[in-house]
């Protein structure tokens, strides 16, 4: 293992950086898109609810790899040239946003409906009630499961390896075949993933305790 780090340290670090970059971008957008669809799922307007339902079911029930391949192969063929990194990040964003939407929706729905009625009955609009009363309470319920989604997202970013995204997993594959030391290589890769996910895991636990 040590020798792998010594000989391929640069490649591994680059992969780690790409994985981190992809995860941060995907996390940011998945959180925004996911929360948006979660709210659309609970608005009074049925049309918006159906749209949200369709989006979520589609991206939640297609394998991440298939979504990513779609962007990697189909988009460049008809629309615009995009790199493996970009298509992987888009795929990961859409896929994760569907799970985040489900998580946030269930958080919103675990807030007592009386809270919304109380707010509406004083003259607040649906959106005002959401913003000041329901969402802040939903946020607390959502922290633990959202933490899981974030960790899944980091791990799922390994999909980049299939589309030449130069992430940690991709570099691992390259190094393994170059060095002929598969076991040590993948051990190194595993340790580097842990370096990304463990702090996240502990931070979520800390937040959970502080908000409880």
């Amino acid at each position: 293992m040590i020798s792998i780090f010594q000989n391929y340290g640069g490649e591994l670090l680059y992969g780690l950086g790409q994985t981190l970059l992809c995860s941060i971008i995907a996390l940011f957008f998945a959180l925004i898109i996911g929360s948006g669809f979660a709210i659309l799922e609970v608005v009074p307007n049925k049309f918006f609810r159906i749209i949200a339902r369709i989006y979520i079911e589609v991206f939640r029930n297609i394998p991440l790899l298939v979504i990513t391949m779609f962007f990697y192969v189909v988009i460049p063929m008809y629309i615009v040239e995009i790199s493996g990194f970009v298509s992987g990040t888009i795929g990961l964003t859409l896929y994760s946003s569907a799970f985040i939407a489900e998580t946030v929706r269930s958080g919103i729905q675990s807030v007592d409906p009386g809270q919304m009625e109380g707010a509406r009955s004083t003259g607040l609009s649906f959106w005002q009630s959401m913003r000041y009363i329901v969402l802040p309470q939903a946020f607390r319920y959502v922290i633990p499961p959202l933490g899981n989604q974030f960790i899944n997202l980091v791990k799922n970013s390994s999909v980049l390896a299939f589309v030449a995204g130069f992430d940690l997993m991709y570099q691992g594959n390259v190094i393994a075949s170059d060095s002929l030391q598969s076991m040590s290589t993948y051990l190194c890769v595993g340790v580097l993933y842990l370096i990304l996910t463990l702090p996240l895991s502990y931070y979520m636990r800390y937040l959970e305790k502080r908000l409880a």
């Binding site: 007592d112 004083t122 003259g123 005002q128």
Partner: protein
């Protein structure tokens, strides 16, 4: 002009006919008590008045606007029609003071210092000034309900709806809440529609008593007639007999 007027109102939950041929007129300043067995449609009726439930047929005119008309801005009606719930529905994430100040700030844009002054005065009125900075969960049910009443009053509504405001409370707290309600009924020109089985309250402050069963209004009397004469309707008589002996 009547504050609330139901004209041949029908309400359905899916196929279930929850309100049948409702005709009811409540004048500004009146206090009306609505009674009836569980499941008879009292909550449904009172919730239609501020649009928490929609009606399918008929007209429902509140403060001069028809709720069945899609052009009616429901938030504008709610500014003038407050509601007090059985389970209080205070905002769990806000302090007592914030519970009272939120809607006047956002909906009425009341200046902050005036808003606070009004809120503290209302807290004084319901006897809870010392609890201003607590969270709802730190208060007893009776205290929470009085806060909920203060929250409604902060909007300076013309009309207040109460849906069984004391039925989730321990017996020793009921009077504190009823006293606040009696004060509002006698000292202001508030229109009040109250679902309650507190017959002492009804007898003391209600102008009228309305009895519902199975989605229909079966009796609508002045409270003198209801309590001292006898309700004409057989079921209303039986029901009254039952709740008064309890």
């Amino acid at each position: 002009m009547a504050m609330i007027e139901f004209q041949d109102v029908q309400k359905y939950y899916g196929d279930f006919h929850a309100l049948k041929d409702i005709n009811l007129k409540i004048e500004a300043g009146e206090t009306v008590v609505l009674i009836g067995p569980s499941g008879s449609g009292k909550s449904t009726l009172i919730r239609t008045v501020n649009g928490l439930e929609t009606i399918q047929e008929g007209k429902l005119i509140v403060n001069g606007q028809d709720l069945a008309d899609r052009k009616t801005d429901i938030n504008r009606i709610r500014k003038n029609v407050g509601m007090v719930f059985q389970h209080f529905n205070l905002y769990a994430n806000k302090t007592v003071l914030e519970n009272i100040m939120l809607a006047p700030r956002i909906v009425l844009h009341r200046p902050e210092d005036e808003n606070k002054q009004v809120a503290m005065q209302l807290l004084d009125q319901v006897g809870l000034q010392s609890q201003a900075n607590k969270l709802p969960a730190q208060l007893s049910g009776g205290q929470q309900q009085r806060i909920a009443i203060a929250r409604s009053l902060a909007m300076k509504p013309k009309c207040l709806l109460f849906d069984e405001p004391t039925s989730a409370l321990d017996p020793e707290m009921i009077d504190d809440v009823l006293n606040v309600m009696k004060e509002i009924a006698t000292d202001s020109d508030m229109t009040m529609l109250v679902v309650t089985h507190e017959m002492g309250f009804a007898r003391e402050v209600a102008n009228r008593v309305v009895f519902m069963d199975d989605g229909r209004i079966l009796e609508d009397d002045t409270s003198e007639k209801f309590f001292d004469g006898e309700p004409t309707n057989e079921r209303a008589r039986q029901f009254l007999g039952k709740i008064i002996t309890h």
